[in-house]
């Protein structure tokens, strides 16, 4: 399912304190692509991801996913939009502490009419042996795997990852990126990754570089570097 941003604008504050965070974002991300949103702090990349995810509304412009358009969507419609189309992965895992790894993933499966097979996904995530453990009994990397599993189980057309390796060490970060790559190959979801880590751009099909609220570069990677070979 292709994703299209149509002249997205967003500002915070009023009067003199008004700050334009997004000043007209136009882009198209094709179905099954890994797209990296790259930019420095304050460039607007997280705001754009949140607007695509329907957890923040644009002042103007809209997002098209397949036949759906986010413009003028009510709160209920946005809930539905997120439920049907999206999966989220955050820098912090936000797992429910009194649910096991498997149950944390089931929380999201419950929302889908056609979820993926959970045990197979747990195996893909490398979490099958830890499925009955509680989040505080596994490592940070395993917790992030669980968070990815939670986002994936619904089999969303778009997976949104906000700094997914931001809280992880180098080795674990690479494992997570490998997993994202593997998931993309296996399930063919569109994956949008927000990062400030320049190296990650090399594994993407498309790189959108943001600066001062606009996309100043839309790059298609002719040759991608597998996640395992990324260095930073």
């Amino acid at each position: 399912m292709d994703l299209k941003c149509n002249d997205i604008k967003k500002a915070y504050g009023e009067g003199e304190a008004r700050q334009e965070v997004l000043r007209g974002i136009n882009c198209e991300i094709h179905s099954g692509e890994i797209c990296v949103l790259l930019g420095t702090s304050g460039s607007g990349k997280s705001t754009l991801l949140n607007i695509i995810g329907g957890i923040e509304t644009a002042d103007s412009g809209c997002i098209d996913i397949g036949d759906e358009c986010t413009e003028n969507m009510s709160e209920k419609d946005l809930d539905k939009y997120r439920r049907n189309n999206l999966g989220f992965v955050f820098q912090f895992y936000n797992l429910i502490p009194n649910l096991t790894i498997k149950e944390n993933i089931e929380v999201s499966a419950y929302l889908s009419k056609n979820p993926l097979e959970i045990n197979e996904l747990l195996k893909t995530l490398g979490l099958y042996d830890h499925k009955d453990k509680f989040p505080n009994q596994v490592s940070g990397g395993q917790q992030q795997r669980c968070a990815i599993g939670r986002a994936l189980i619904k089999n969303p057309s778009v997976l949104l990852c906000d700094e997914p390796t931001g809280a992880l060490d180098y080795k674990t970060s690479k494992e997570i990126l490998e997993l994202i790559e593997k998931v993309n190959e296996k399930y063919h979801n569109t994956i949008i990754i927000v990062t400030h880590n320049d190296a990650i751009k090399n594994m993407a099909h498309r790189v959108l570089k943001l600066r001062d609220g606009i996309i100043y570069k839309d790059i298609i990677n002719e040759t991608r570097t597998p996640a395992i070979e990324l260095e930073w």
Partner: protein, 755 residues
């Protein structure tokens, strides 16, 4: 697929069992008492309604000095009513000093219900009112001697016209110790001296659906018929005005709403406690909520999820509360009525209205309050939850704390950050101390009332006479008085209450401090009347004659400190002029010692001891319930204190953990976090007690509205001190538990969960 979030709930219950158990206990106790009380009320009301029809309760009675003629009975029956003689003998020295009315057999009206044993069948058998038998230690088979006649107790009964044992209708309180009723069969009654028989006639309307005004009109017609036959009734009372019949009905009518309000207030407090706890949970789980919302969970689904624990606890508590309320609690509740009222055996009924009031409404109050809080809290966007930014609107300015040492400022910060929990704690303290003041203060309040009667009533004996009787020779100090009862409207209840008109001598030895006004339409009112009706010097009070309907207006020229009665003092001659009597007329003697007056002349004999004893007796019937109130209020106080202070510590677990890492020892940490709570508890107590006093004073206005006299609110300071000590001691017990839990908070807490 079952929502996996549901799995959190039993785990949450297990983890926070002490918190939920506390709330469950308060809820189930409240619902248990509410349902047992309401069901008892319903069952009692039903049994009283049955008595009205099956036992043919009277609509009123009158007493005459001799039997009335058959012709007069026929005339009265033409007024569409039945009439039956329920004559009695007054025994003044039963069991040494108690008054006992022994009634002739009753077949047509006011038929007694058997509680135990049987009704008298032979002339030497007697059935006692159940309470009278209990008070005098009588059992079936006991022998009693009444005016020289010996009887065997064959049963205990409940009289329809004496469900509340008022010795005199003007008495403020019931007197079960010194007053009782019994019944013998007609042959048995014949054994008594006929000269001493009091002729009482009970009437019952053929149409039992008459309105109050129609009943009053009928009563007036009866009086007119009696007067037209030259019969002056010694006493005439409608069932509505007869306290022995109506007091229980009025008491039940007022007990019910009071209990319901009490249940609703407690449920609302618990609902707010739940709301505060859920609010804390939402604060700590904000990123999880943000994530769930991002995944597509709707606000509605999240509300339901966080609402569930409170709803489950309420449902289980209401189920347990009802089961215990309808099983174990019913007999203690029935005993409350059996101890005080002479009611027939209560048959338990499952009452749908009681179930709605004590279970369904609380079960609705709980989610309503929590839904309102959750809706407001969860109205923020998912992003705000993800960012843990849960402030609504513009960021509130942080209160700047510049004065005081660092620990003092830290403590203040803890109080400010946990103001929600502390506000609920404050309300919890108000409610529990209110109950404690009520439970512990009622006894001294009654004692004070008794003392004030003893202080203000300066005569020892009061003789109400049937006819004038001149005492020629006596060593006692005595005075003549004219005493009558008029009615005045009590605006608070919009009902007429009795006012004793006391015509005394201008230079009375017994009322030395009183300065009676010369004008015949002016009088001095008792302090009890001034307090109850809110009257002051210069006001006027309108009075009505209960039988003739004649109206009088008396101007109040002063207030006399007198707690014994709701009354107006006038010069005897002035009262007689006002009532169009002979100026020297009298119908009463007051004296410092016993007077030699023939029994046949005395209508009523009241001693100072009677007046004080009745109030003491009333208090003893409350004794067990007051103990329960005290235990219940301490339990509520301790549970609320535990839950809310625990919430403060849990909310600050991370800060406590940090302080440990920085090198603060447990004592220093306790000083910051627990002292903040100690300060709040002590300040709350200091504010709550004066608020409670104001509330109880307001409540007392309504409580005293239910009784004939007036009891002023007075609780000695030692009681407040005792309450404060109990509350502080209870707090320190809770505090000790928290000291242990603070010690257990690991330092890793701060290092592990940092997101």
């Amino acid at each position: 697929m079952r929502n996996p979030l549901l799995k959190r709930i039993p785990r949450d219950f297990r983890k926070n069992w002490s918190k939920y158990l506390g709330l469950f206990l308060i809820l189930s106790l409240t619902i248990m008492i509410g349902s047992a009380f309401s069901s008892t009320l319903e069952s009692t009301v039903r049994i009283m309604n049955t008595v009205e029809t099956d036992n043919r309760l009277e609509n009123g009675f009158f007493e005459t000095s001799s039997p009335i003629s058959d012709d007069l009975i026929s005339q009265l029956e033409e007024l569409e009513l039945e009439i039956a003689a329920i004559n009695y003998q007054r025994i003044n020295d039963f069991d040494k000093s108690a008054k006992l009315l022994v009634f002739d057999e009753r077949r047509k009206i006011d038929i007694p219900s058997i509680f135990d044993g049987k009704l008298p069948e032979s002339p030497n058998e007697i059935a006692f009112d159940r309470i009278a038998a209990r008070e005098h230690g009588l059992k079936i088979g006991s022998e009693v001697n009444l005016n020289g006649q010996s009887f065997t107790l064959c049963g205990t009964v409940a009289f329809p016209d004496y469900n509340s044992l008022f010795a005199n209708n003007s008495d403020m309180v019931m007197n079960t110790t010194d007053f009782g009723v019994a019944v013998v069969n007609h042959e048995g009654f014949e054994r008594f001296d006929k000269e001493c028989t009091v002729y009482r006639y009970a009437y019952r309307f053929r149409n039992q659906d008459l309105s109050d005004s129609e009943k009053a009109d009928k009563a007036e017609e009866i009086i007119k018929t009696l007067y037209s036959n030259m019969i002056v009734p010694g006493d005439f009372l409608t069932a509505e005005a007869n306290q022995s019949i109506s007091f229980l009905k009025n008491d039940i009518g007022k007990d019910g709403p009071m209990m319901e309000v009490f249940v609703y207030i407690l449920i609302a407090v618990i609902a707010f406690v739940f709301a505060v706890l859920t609010n804390n949970t939402i604060d700590s789980e904000a990123p999880i909520i943000g994530t769930l919302r991002s995944l597509g969970y709707s606000k509605h689904e999240i509300i339901i999820h966080y609402l569930m624990p409170s709803v489950i606890v309420t449902l289980v508590a209401s189920l347990v509360g009802n089961i215990i309320g309808y099983t174990l609690m019913l007999n203690p509740m029935y005993d409350l009525y059996y101890t005080t009222y002479s009611v027939p055996k209560i048959i338990t009924v499952f009452s749908v209205p009681a179930f709605i009031k004590t279970t369904l409404i609380p079960v609705i109050i709980m989610p309503v309050i929590n839904i309102l809080m959750l809706r407001s809290k969860l109205s923020l966007s998912p992003l705000k939850f993800l960012r843990h930014d849960l402030k609504k609107g513009k960021t509130r300015r942080t209160v700047r704390l510049t004065r005081g040492s660092f620990p003092t400022r830290f403590r203040l910060r803890v109080i400010l950050q946990n103001k929600g929990s502390y506000i609920m704690l404050f309300f919890g303290i108000i409610i529990s101390t209110l109950l404690l003041i009520f439970g512990m203060g009622l006894a001294p309040m009654f004692d004070n009332y008794v003392d004030s009667i003893a202080d203000s009533v300066t005569f020892e004996n009061q003789y109400l006479l049937k006819t004038e009787y001149e005492i020629t020779d006596s060593d006692a100090v005595f005075e003549k008085a004219e005493v009558t009862t008029l009615k005045t409207n009590y605006s608070l209840t919009d009902k007429d209450i009795d006012v004793s008109m006391l015509g005394i001598e201008p230079d009375s030895n017994f009322f030395r401090e009183i300065n009676l006004p010369p004008a015949e339409n002016e009088g001095i009112i008792s302090s009890a009347m001034a307090n109850k009706l809110g009257l002051k010097a210069g006001d006027s009070v309108k009075l009505t004659h209960p039988y003739s309907g004649e109206e009088y207006t008396i101007k109040i020229s002063g207030i006399y400190e007198y707690s014994g009665t709701i009354g107006i003092f006038l010069k005897r001659s002035n009262l007689n002029k006002l009532l169009a009597n002979n100026e020297d007329a009298y119908n009463c003697y007051i004296s410092d010692s016993k007077l030699d007056i023939p029994e046949a002349v005395i209508a009523k004999y009241i001693t100072k001891k009677d007046m004080c004893g009745a109030a003491k007796q009333m208090l003893s019937s409350f004794d067990s319930i007051l103990k329960l109130v005290n235990i219940f209020s301490v339990v509520i106080y301790m549970i609320l204190l535990f839950i809310l202070t625990k919430a403060v510590i849990e909310k600050n677990a991370l800060s406590i953990s940090y302080l440990k890492i920085f090198g603060y020892d447990n004592k220093e940490i306790n000083k910051i976090f627990l002292r903040a709570t100690s300060i709040t508890v002590i300040i709350s107590l200091a504010i709550a007690i004066p608020i409670d006093i104001m509330l109880i004073k307001l409540l007392m206005v309504y409580i005293t509205a239910m009784i004939e006299g007036y009891i002023s609110f007075w609780v000695p300071s030692r009681i407040y001190l005792l309450i404060a000590v109990i509350c502080i001691c209870a707090y320190y017990i809770i505090n000790a538990i928290h000291v242990r839990s603070i010690r257990k908070i690991p330092m890793q807490e701060a290092l592990k969960c940092r997101e």
